[in-house]
Amino acid sequence: MKRTLLAVTALLLAGTSLAQTKTLTVYSGRAKTFVDPVVQQFERQTGIKVNVRYGTDAQLVAALREEGSKSPADVYWGNSVGALGELAEEGKFTKLGTALTRNVSSDYLPDDRTWLPTTVRFRTLAYNTGKIKPEQLPDSILDLPKMTSLKGRIGWTVSYPSFQDFLAAMISKYGEATTRQWIEGMKALQPKDYKTSNVGMLEAMRAGEIDVALTNHYYIQRVNRLSYPIDTYFFKNGDIGNLGNATGAAILKTSKNTASAARFLSALVAKDAQTFFLSVNFEYPVIGNILQPTTMLPYSDVSKRSPRIDPTVLPKNIDKAQKLLRDAGLL
């Protein structure tokens, strides 16, 4: 026991010595598997130690609110426009300089330049090619509740930030009443809720639990690589079910490491990271043309299918979306 104690003490002291080097604290709503290689690369190239706190967007938004000025976070790396917008509206981010923003597509860059988009993704419907023909599926996601043949066979992720952004966009475009009706209609089909896990949802589809799933495009691309019988269905052009969304990164006003934080953000939109996001994660880049996997639609094609929703409206409606989900007993 004494030797164990000494070993533990040595470990702790070794951990403490790391605090002497430059460090950056990142709160990441993005999952570790999607971003860790980029973080590792940044650490190797710059010598800056990056401590990443992983969690969901909502979890980290709530944490930053609770932490206030005492927050240890330097960078917030969000998984959705809604979360980034919430924090931006609350004045938690510093304004970014043009050196960071000039190479980035303006599609998702907020006017006040409080956060930097890092990738783009699109809402889609995944379907089991062994059980569903695409012609059977509706033109609009608004008609999905009418598909009574899918009762008990639909998967969704009500806790997932992109799903909540999608609801916020629906509220923005069609109003709360229509959105509430849609939620109640979907609920009547007894969808299976996979909480925050799109990977879990598609694994369930492979396992035969469900036949269709509301998800982001890149999850389908990833399982296609594994030869799962799952494919992508897009609704008609401009449908809310094809909503484009962005991940993004921001520097917190309370940060004491703004120079390192700026370097980190710069690395995220550099070609190396963008190539990784595209080729490994199957997420669309924000810096223009990079050679794309052949299974993915070109960005220009897929962006036409997406409705034009001003990114600033999403944070205004996220709270309403969450309230609708709570009223329906789903959250």
Partner: protein
């Protein structure tokens, strides 16, 4: 028995234990009350709360029923029949404790459905577990050992004279079992049942993976999906109320229980009965139980382990292992150190103050860990910001939560170590600290080691405190199993799950070996005072209950 008031210094750990739990809970309540009154009204009277309450209670009752159906026959087979080898039965009754519930859930999920382990090995599409029955199955399989340990200890120490008297009066074996043995098992069942109820109430991982909404699942969902924490704080308060009600119910049911002998006499081990024609049925029961609780989980882990293709998996595993072992070792030391004074007061002093002091340890244990973790977040941010997200806070949370587990073995050792040796030391001129160091501590060393092992195992498995309170970048086995399982990355989760299961198994075996060395001591020949009813649940179910006088 020293009736003097305990030395004030010895009361300090109890005060720390109580304040350490109650203060954060006060801040949890403050946070819950911090919302606008209209929002509060909406939150409190939300109909979903009733649904969550019903689901939580149904699951708790179901698991209590399921664990009883497994633990009682198994304990009877191990303690009262000629079935051999007896040690194997005891192992089967304890080893599932080594597998955390979320690992069990991971294994059952990864074993089921198309592409799962069972499908891959046999071609049978075992339907995926989910909802109530999935949660019930997993929680039953991996918490029944708490009940088994209590019932097994009770069956081994029951005085057979009562059963003999019943048989002499013409009762059939079945009538004797129902009218004599079962009532005798009631306190053991109540203690084990309370532990299981606390585990079910406090579990969020199994119910989340199985998609069965309970209070704990809802708290975690709010924590991960809602942009504010008012509702999660309220749900945590509701969970505390339900837990408090369970504690009161157990105390009330335990109050009327008094077991004592009316006259002195020699004690004999209970007789064992041959199974006869029931033996094949018993073996089938044992095989199914071993398959479901051990073979399928471990087999699934090994199966998915072979599919792991990430070349960096093993170095990441090593890092997580170091993190987990480090935290578990430190917490084992701090918890055992804090437990010793509490157990000392309980065993060397009497009176209400001593009882209250000892009961202080159970406050942290009974508090659902998710609610406790949330409370600590609110508390540290407002009162002690430097503690927020630090290793120190994590260790403090582990210590307060698992203190009760450490008190049991230490107290048992202290009760075995007769106070007369301490008095002899004092008579020979040793000061109080010297007596403690040279007489008492050597005597209770085995108990201290068992306490440390228990806490070590529990910290290794602990998930909610680890998830919410870990310092940034702190990797553990439990946290990795959880995050990979939540993302259905079964191959990536396998190394961590296996490490947890093996570590747990080794520690469990160690604990069993030490318990085996404790031979039940025959009671003194003079009739002692009538035993008082047990007022609180035993911290460690594996500790044999004191032989009723």
């Amino acid at each position: 028995m020293n009736a003097r008031r305990p030395h004030p210094l010895l009361l300090l750990p109890a005060i720390l234990a109580v304040l350490g739990v109650l203060l954060p809970l006060v801040y949890l309540a403050l946070r819950a009350l911090g919302a606008e009154s209209s929002e509060l009204r909406e939150i409190v009277f939300r109909t979903r709360n009733l649904e969550l309450l019903a689901n939580t209670l149904l699951l708790t009752l179901g698991v209590l029923g399921g664990t009883t159906l497994i633990a009682l026959p198994l304990a009877y087979l191990a303690a009262r029949t000629t079935l051999r080898p007896r040690r194997l039965l005891t192992l089967l009754g304890v080893l599932p404790l080594a597998i955390p519930g979320y690992v069990g859930a991971y294994a059952l999920i990864a074993a089921s459905g198309a592409g799962g382990t069972i499908d891959a090995l046999t071609g049978i599409r075992w339907p995926g577990p989910g909802g109530y029955w999935g949660a019930l199955g997993v929680l039953t399989l991996f918490t029944f050992p708490y009940l088994f340990l209590n019932l097994h200890a009770a069956l081994r120490t029951q005085d057979p004279a009562l059963e003999d008297a019943a048989r002499l009066l013409g009762r059939t074996p079945w009538q004797t079992f129902r009218e004599v043995t079962l009532p005798y098992l009631r306190p053991a069942w109540l203690s084990g049942a309370l532990l299981i109820a606390l585990h079910v109430l406090g579990d969020f991982s199994v119910v989340s993976l199985m998609r069965y909404p309970t209070f704990s699942a809802a708290i975690y969902q709010q924590y991960t999906a809602a942009y504010d924490r008012v509702y999660s704080a309220w749900l945590a308060l509701a969970l505390l109320l339900v837990t408090g009600a369970a504690l009161l119910l157990e105390a009330r049911l335990m109050r009327g229980v008094r077991l004592s002998r009316v006259s002195p006499g020699g004690t004999r081990p209970p007789r064992t009965v041959p199974l006869g024609r029931a033996a094949p049925l018993a073996w089938v029961f044992l095989a199914v139980l071993a398959g479901a609780a051990l073979v399928v989980p471990l087999g699934t882990i090994v199966y998915w382990l072979r599919l792991e293709t990430n070349p960096f998996a093993w170095s990441a595993l090593l890092e997580a292992f170091q993190g987990a072992l480090g935290a578990a070792a430190v917490a084992a030391v701090t918890t055992t150190a804090l437990a010793f004074p509490l157990a000392y007061i309980g065993s060397r002093h009497s009176g209400p103050l001593a009882r209250l002091t000892e009961r202080a340890a159970y406050l942290g244990y009974a508090t659902p860990p998710l609610a406790f973790a949330l409370a600590l977040v609110f508390f540290t941010l407002r009162v002690a910001p430097p503690l927020y997200q630090t290793f120190t806070l994590l260790i403090a949370a582990y210590t307060l939560h698992f203190l009760a587990e450490a008190v049991g073995p230490v107290r048992t050792s202290l009760l075995t170590a007769t106070p007369r040796l301490e008095e002899a030391g004092r008579l020979l001129g040793l000061s109080a600290p010297q007596t403690l160091r040279r007489v008492t501590l050597p005597l209770v060393r085995p108990g201290l080691l068992v306490s440390a092992a228990f806490v070590f195992l529990s910290v290794l498995k602990e998930l909610p405190l680890t998830l919410l309170l870990s310092p940034i970048g702190f990797e553990t086995l439990s946290r990795n199993v959880w995050s990979y399982t939540e993302e259905a990355q079964y191959a990536s989760a396998a190394p961590y799950a296996l490490a947890l299961a093996v570590s747990g198994a080794l520690l469990t075996l160690l604990i069993l070996r030490r318990e085996d060395r404790r031979v039940p001591r025959p009671p003194p020949s003079s009739p002692p005072a009538a035993s008082q009813p047990a007022a609180s649940p035993p911290a460690t179910p594996s500790t044999p209950k004191d032989d009723p006088a």
